[in-house]
C-alpha cells in the first residue's frame, strides 16, 4: 500500500515541477502584464501546492506532512490576493493593455465614476 502512495506522491511532485516550468514559460511569452499575472498565478495554485501535496502523500501524518499541509494553506490564502492586488496596482499605475484586448470593464467603471 505504501509503495503505491510513494508512486502517487512522486507523480504529484513531477506534475508540480512541470507546472512551475509552464508558469515561467507563460511569464516569458505572454504579451502584457495582466496575461502574465493570469499565467503566473497558475504556477502557484497547481505547481508549488502540488509539490507540497506530494510531500504530504509520501510522508503521511508526521512533522513533514503537517508542515506541508500548513504551507499549502498559507499559499492558497496569500497568492490569489497578491495576484489581484498586483493587477489592480498595475491598472492604477496606468500600464496599457495589449492592443488586441477586447474589453476592459474596470477602466469603464473607473471612468464613469462607479468605483473609485
Amino acid at each position: 500500500m505504501t509503495e503505491y502512495l510513494h508512486y502517487i506522491g512522486y507523480g504529484l511532485v513531477t506534475i508540480g515541477v512541470i507546472f512551475d516550468f509552464f508558469g515561467a514559460l507563460a511569464l516569458v511569452r505572454l504579451p502584457d502584464v495582466y496575461n502574465r499575472i493570469l499565467g503566473a498565478t497558475k504556477c502557484v495554485t497547481m505547481g508549488t501546492s502540488s509539490i507540497m501535496l506530494g510531500i504530504f502523500v509520501i510522508n503521511g501524518f508526521n512533522v513533514l506532512g503537517i508542515k506541508a499541509l500548513l504551507c499549502i494553506f498559507f499559499l492558497m490564502l496569500t497568492s490569489p490576493v497578491s495576484g489581484q492586488v498586483l493587477s489592480r496596482a498595475a491598472h492604477i499605475a496606468g500600464v496599457k493593455t495589449w492592443d488586441k484586448t477586447v474589453c476592459d470593464h474596470y477602466d469603464d467603471d473607473r471612468k464613469s465614476g462607479k468605483i473609485k
Binding site: 512522486y10 511532485v13 513531477t14 508540480g16 515541477v17 512541470i18 512551475d20 516550468f21 508558469g23 515561467a24 514559460l25 511569464l27 516569458v28 502584464v33 502574465r36 499575472i37 503566473a40 504556477c43 502557484v44 505547481g47 508549488t48 509539490i51 507540497m52 506530494g54 510531500i55 509520501i58 512533522v63 513533514l64 508542515k67 506541508a68 500548513l70 504551507c71 498559507f74 499559499l75 496569500t78 497568492s79 490576493v81 497578491s82 492586488v85 498586483l86 489592480r88 496596482a89 498595475a90 492604477i92 499605475a93 500600464v95
Partner: protein, 111 residues
C-alpha cells in the same frame, strides 16, 4: 527573424528534454534542473520587463520558485527545517508583494 527565434527556442527546449529523458541521474536532480531553468526564465523577465509591474510579478513568482526548491530539499533530506523556511518565505513574499503594489499605486506606506 521571428521564425529563426522560434526554431532556436524549439531546438534548445527539445535538446534539454531529450537530455533529461535519456540521462540516468536521480529524479531529484531532474526536478532541480527543471526548476533552475524556470528560475532563469523568470530572471529574464525581471531583467528585461518593460514596465515596473512586470518586475514586481517576476519577484513574486521567484519567491514561489524558492518555496518549491525548499520543498524538494525537504523531500530529499527528510528534514523538516526546510518546510519552516518555506512557510516563512510564503508569508514574507506576500508582505513584500503588498508593499510593491502600494508603491506602484503611488501611495505612501503609512496611508
Amino acid at each position: 527573424m521571428k521564425i529563426l527565434r522560434w526554431i532556436i527556442g524549439f531546438i534548445v527546449f527539445v535538446s534539454i528534454a531529450v537530455w533529461l529523458g535519456i540521462s540516468d541521474i536521480s529524479m531529484f536532480y531532474k526536478w532541480f534542473y527543471i526548476l533552475l531553468l524556470a528560475c532563469f526564465m523568470v530572471l529574464f523577465r525581471i531583467l528585461r520587463g518593460r514596465t515596473p509591474a512586470d518586475r514586481a510579478v517576476g519577484v513574486d513568482i521567484l519567491g514561489i520558485m524558492v518555496i518549491g526548491f525548499s520543498g524538494i530539499l525537504a523531500l530529499t533530506t527528510q528534514k523538516d527545517i526546510y518546510l519552516d523556511i518555506a512557510i516563512a518565505w510564503a508569508l514574507q513574499a506576500f508582505i513584500a508583494t503588498l508593499a510593491l503594489a502600494k508603491y506602484l499605486e503611488g501611495r505612501s506606506f503609512d496611508d
